[in-house]
């Protein structure tokens, strides 16, 4: 099976600083892939390259089969993206936000109409469809933002700390949406600071000082490091970091 993401010695330098240092990994189609690392380890820089927003200094990477150095526009069409900070337009309604983003991806009116009602039903937002997004509670906004990010049925969705600050119940509802998306064949690439969420991933990579410090299933990582939780795996790895954030 073709991989959703492949990188080979992917590197990004800023002046004399090597933010991402020759990372090599593969993400399988339909996989939930956790991308962890301490602040400053190089996660954001790596993710920006994979989304076609930043050119690699050297090395290679493909996303959905397209080259991140030469086919960035094709990549952007094949992916969805959502971050904690980037949200929807607060002064548009739920329905208008969906129509706007789906329109940008060139989806037909019939597709948008049919899928909008399905998504609203799934999120139980039917009665809020014509309310301004700004009036929704944060947790609903994040779930809606995720649904909008995958509305155009991308091959891969990138989620940058999607559950930061979200209450524990909504955080779990959010992960149910992730599982459903993965069940529909969408590859999920997700960063988080919640170590319990690392357990929900099929495989997890942990970046340390611009390199991949470890990559395995949560079970495999715990066995390798001889500990009981992902929290301890993370602390063991990140403690060894030279590029301290503090």
């Amino acid at each position: 099976m073709q991989d959703a993401i492949t990188t080979r010695n992917l590197t990004k330098t800023f002046g004399s600083f090597t933010a991402v240092d020759a990372i090599t990994f593969h993400v399988k189609k339909g996989e939930i892939f956790g991308f962890l690392g301490a602040n400053g380890a190089g996660k954001t820089t790596a993710m920006r390259m994979l989304c076609g927003l930043s050119f690699p200094t050297s090395g290679k990477a493909t996303v959905a089969g397209f080259d991140v150095a030469t086919e960035t526009e094709k990549i952007k069409r094949s992916i969805g993206y959502m971050s904690q900070k980037f949200s929807l337009y607060e002064d548009l309604t739920v329905r208008e936000n969906i129509r706007f983003y789906a329109g940008i991806y060139g989806k037909s009116r019939a597709f948008i109409r049919e899928k909008t009602s399905r998504v609203l039903q799934q999120l139980r937002l039917e009665n809020e469809a014509d309310k301004l997004v700004g009036a929704l509670p944060l947790g609903w906004k994040q779930k809606l933002a995720f649904s909008v990010a995958i509305f155009h049925e991308p091959e891969i969705v990138f989620l940058d700390e999607p559950t930061g600050g979200v209450d524990p119940v909504t955080r779990r509802e959010f992960w149910n949406l992730i599982y459903e998306a993965a069940g529909d064949g969408i590859t999920v690439f997700v960063t988080t600071h919640y170590m319990d969420e690392a357990e929900y991933c099929d495989r997890v990579s942990i970046m340390v000082d611009g390199k991949i410090g470890a990559l395995d299933s949560p079970k495999g990582l715990k066995e390798t490091f001889g500990v009981n939780s992902m929290d301890e795996v993370f602390l063991k790895l990140a403690r060894g970091a030279k590029r301290s954030d503090g």
């Binding site: 602040n39 509670p137 600050g165 599982y179 602390l235 990140a238 970091a241």
Partner: protein, 318 residues
């Protein structure tokens, strides 16, 4: 002596037609020298509460005191006695590390030398960069500088609004170690956080959600109040397992919890019942074991209880 008191604090925003209630009759008391946590997600009202207590925002109704001073009448006296670290980095980006610290010392009519012992452990970690502009610091270093600036006038009460949000697990741990050191110096600390696992590091915590305090107690006390049987369950296919657990007639609640799912049982149901229920399904690799609840289990249970029951919990338990 009570270091901080809040009595029936109400704060709303918006217009009459479209009211958002940030704080709904919030009451609690914090003892002198206590490390008190306000635990809740975004939108719970944490920042409004801290801004009222630091005299930066007026409540619609209710009363609050800090060091026995009224937050409305005695605002000038309170401002001399509290240290406040807002959630958003709010130092001068174009001043250096040393200049920022000097500035805050000067406006509080003190000097870095006078209180250096208080900030020494924290400030020494960023002192090698003292000539760097604050805007050029990493997240962790900014946080240490902000804490140093909030402490330089030796406040009696320290308010830290989400100091660890967006901070990785290692830096979070370091930050809590710093708080423990400060607590030993007798400073009362109020700290807010969306991370439930940080609750156990506080003396007492208030769990807060959409402006309502769900519970106030020691972390151990909150956990003791969780009465139903809690099981940790796993199988080879975790998501289908979760759906099956949620359909179980004896399930009060079932939700993902790291490596395992947590299953909260209704009274009258037990582990053996769950086992035979799952035996009838196609799950492989099933593992079931009793589990001790943690703060997050309690928070989820309190969030899901009828609001009437939550309202009974408003009064401070201390």
């Amino acid at each position: 002596m009570k270091s901080v008191t809040a009595q029936d604090l109400v704060k709303t925003y918006g217009t009459k037609k479209d009211v958002v209630t940030a704080l709904n009759n919030v009451s609690f008391e914090v003892e002198q020298g206590e490390l008190f946590g306000i635990i809740g997600p975004d939108g719970a009202g944490k920042t409004s509460l801290f801004r009222i207590l630091t005299t930066l925002l007026l409540a619609d109704s209710g009363r609050a005191t800090v060091d026995n001073l009224d937050v409305v009448k005695d605002l000038k006296a309170i401002r001399k006695r509290v240290g406040y670290m807002p959630g958003r980095f709010s130092l001068y980006q174009d001043l250096t590390v040393a200049e920022n610290l000097e500035f805050f010392a000067t406006i509080f009519e003190t000097s870095i030398q006078e209180n250096y012992d208080l900030i020494k452990d924290i400030y020494q970690q960023i002192e090698p960069f003292k000539d760097r502009r604050a805007g050029k610091l990493s997240g962790g270093m900014k946080q240490k500088l902000a804490l140093s600036c909030a402490l330089i006038h030796r406040p009696g009460v320290l308010f830290l609004d989400e100091p660890t949000t967006g901070v990785d697990a290692v830096s979070r741990k370091e930050f809590w170690d710093m708080l423990k050191t400060l607590k030993r110096q007798g400073i009362t600390i109020l700290v807010s956080t969306p991370y439930m696992d940080e609750a156990s590091l506080c003396d007492r915590v208030a769990l807060i959600q959409t402006g309502n305090i769900l519970s106030i107690d020691s972390p151990a006390g909150i956990v003791d109040n969780f009465k139903p049987t809690l099981l940790a369950v796993r199988a080879n296919q975790m998501y289908p397992l979760l759906l099956d657990l949620q359909r179980y007639e004896g399930a009060r609640d079932a939700y993902a919890f790291g490596e395992y799912h947590h299953l909260v049982l209704k009274s009258g149901f037990n582990e053996a019942g769950v086992r035979s229920y799952l035996d009838r399904s196609a799950h492989e690799g099933v593992e079931i074991k009793p589990s001790r609840p943690v703060i997050e289990d309690c928070f989820i249970a309190l969030m899901k209880q009828p609001t009437g029951a939550a309202a009974d919990n408003h009064q401070p338990s201390a």
